[in-house]
């Protein structure tokens, strides 16, 4: 399914702003997942990005959106097409780390800018970092490290941890263990895409764990939480925000109530940019934004801030403008570390119910001004 949105939001009055290098258009190619199982994430990133573009009303921003169907080969084809025939200046949009690994190194090597609204594989933060690659979301380990930090402060001494057996899953457990100081009651790798966790739940029951940490994105997390709630186990559960985003929570229902999860964003972070974003998103799309939508929105605003300062054809200046990260992030404080990955606070959220809608509320800060451990490996 081809989806192509050409967006040139009309608002001529805004032309006068800044007055710098405004004659030069910036063409953005967004490759994201809009069909198949993981489509919810891509749709949120896209909607957040387009919302920011619309609110800015900047005529010089042209956006092309294409669906990668969560397939690395299709993402690579789309990137080639966007670079060669669409002549985009900036690429963005990829959700999954394996797709990012397939597209980003080639794109940055051709002198294009890549702004990541979601995936942050460790390679791109460390040895494979590139001056034209900016991650606006998080390094993959971050939310897991935050969960480890939360486990320490909550006094957990014996965690049972589980994740799917694939690179991001192994990174997740490594990230948790990097910060977590207690013992492990068990460490289990499940099959990627597994939907039945009866076996793992029985192992948790048989262990003497005092808490459970899991990284099971998407449908896997829905299944786990429902089955866990039904098993009669009542150990505290902690997970990263990926299993508790706004799109998923409604499908989990009561089983998620009270669960603590870690995120760099939530709709109740108290700052002007976030309030404006949450309101505008609801007005535009009629649903609550997820963290993915906030990442898409921040990515677009970062780009717009750089466009106001420099011309994209002057790569050196544009790169410097991006690096300044001079935009109002929905997360509040936001800065890039030397490897172009965010330094930001990561919060602990709790799942609550507002009226009929399940959502999250911030209950504390897990890690303040957190960067990532790969900074030293990045030589650029």
């Amino acid at each position: 399914m081809k989806m192509k949105t050409l967006l040139a939001a009309g608002c001529a009055a805004m032309m006068a702003t800044a007055g710098l290098a405004d004659d030069h258009k910036v063409k953005v190619g967004m490759i994201t997942t809009l069909s198949g199982g993981g489509a919810g994430l891509g749709i949120d990133v896209r909607d957040g990005f387009l919302l920011a573009a619309k609110m800015a009303g900047n005529d010089n921003l042209e956006i092309v959106v294409e669906d990668d169907q969560r397939k690395p080969d299709i993402a690579v084809q789309l990137a080639d097409k966007m670079i060669q025939s669409e002549k985009v200046d900036v690429l963005t949009g990829i959700i999954w780390s394996n797709l990012a690994m397939a597209v980003v190194p080639a794109a940055t090597a051709q002198g294009k800018f890549y702004l990541s609204p979601n995936a942050g594989p460790s390679v791109l933060a460390g040895k494979g970092c590139h001056p034209n690659y900016f991650n606006v979301a998080w390094q993959n380990d971050n939310l897991h490290e935050a969960a480890g930090g939360y486990a320490n402060s909550a006094g957990f001494k014996n965690s049972f941890i589980l994740a799917p057996n694939y690179p991001a899953g192994q990174d997740a457990l490594t990230g948790y263990k990097r910060i977590y100081e207690g013992e492990l009651a068990g460490e289990v790798f499940t099959k990627l895409g597994q939907k039945d966790y009866a076996s793992e739940i029985a192992q948790i029951r048989a262990s003497d764990a005092d808490s459970v940490y899991f990284f099971l994105p998407g449908g896997m997390g829905i299944s786990f939480l429902k089955q866990y709630a039904d098993s009669g186990l009542d150990l505290p559960v902690v997970g990263p925000a990926f299993s508790f985003d706004q799109g998923i929570l409604q499908a989990v229902g009561d089983a998620a109530m009270g669960v603590k999860n870690t995120s760099q964003w939530n709709k109740d972070i108290d700052n002007e940019a976030n309030k404006a974003f949450v309101e505008a998103f609801q007005a535009e799309y009629g649903r609550l934004p997820s963290l993915y939508a906030s990442q898409g929105y921040d990515t677009a605003n970062l780009l717009l801030s750089a466009m106001g300062k420099a011309d994209v054809s002057d790569a050196e200046a544009f790169r410097a403008a991006l690096k300044e990260a001079d935009f109002d992030s929905t997360r509040g404080d936001f800065a890039f570390d030397s490897n172009n990955h965010p330094i930001q606070d990561i919060y602990v959220r709790e799942v609550i119910k507002e009226g009929e809608v399940y959502t999250n509320k911030i209950i504390g800060t897990a890690l303040e001004d957190h960067s990532n451990v790969y900074v030293e490996d990045c030589k650029m």
Binding site: S35, A39, F189, K195, S199, A202, A206, I222, Q227, G247
Partner: protein, 306 residues
Amino acid sequence: MTAILFIEQVLNGLQFGVMLFLMAAGLTLVFGVMGLINLAHGSLYMVGAFAAAAVAGATGSFLLALVAALAAAAAAGAIVELVVIRRLYDRDHLDQVLATFALILIFSEGTRWVFGSFPLFLDIPDYLSGPVTLPGGIEYPLYRLTIICTGLVIAAGLFWLISRTRLGVRIRAGESDREMIAALGVDISKLYTVVFALGAALAGLAGAMVGAIQSVQVGMGEPVLILAFVVIVIGGIGSIKGALIGAILVGLTDTLGGLLLPELFKLFMEASAASTTGSALASMLIYILMACVLIWKPQGLFGGQA
């Protein structure tokens, strides 16, 4: 590892196997009777789950949701048979695979179009939620026990249907010689539609029952479909008995393998590496089982005369 954990895992394996049987039964009937490879069987599983989620959301009744799942999947199956599948019986398997693969794409995008990209909510009804204590002090979720019982009852019903009723006689006759029973005056095309709808209904029921403890989302049927194919290959294509034994064998192998292999590797490896290697090998285990069965019995366990 305790005996309680082991018994609980055996029950889990049984429950998984019984669900696989509901999927595999339809698949093996369709293949056995009509000689058709139906890749879209997983889509019917998804249709059942979505119908159940929609009806449960509107009425709040889980029983009505199950009825809706059966009805919607059977109707979808019958329509698909009449419109598409009917044209494929005389074609070779490659055409069938292509056409039914196209059906998967149509069903997936169609469902996304109607219900959106986000997973739907379908939960266990209150009266079936929570654990029960079994003899020996095993705490086991009531809903999973219900699944095991429902599946076994349906299996018994299917055996009765195939071996004791007129429809069953026709199905068996259709399996062994379809030209002959057509010559004897049986309306073969109606029989095909009925068999297809029956298989679809079973898949839809499985989708709805599993959807309540897993997630109801687009693409949920395909992973199960692959396992169902493994089951019918192990059991012998066309055999309901083979499907039942194969499903339970696959369920137990998968569940117990995931538990025992990492434990086994821990005897001579460091814990973290053992769980990575053990679980990687465990996910291959059912395919190894399939290969072994095929070496020993190339037609599958109960594969007959073909």
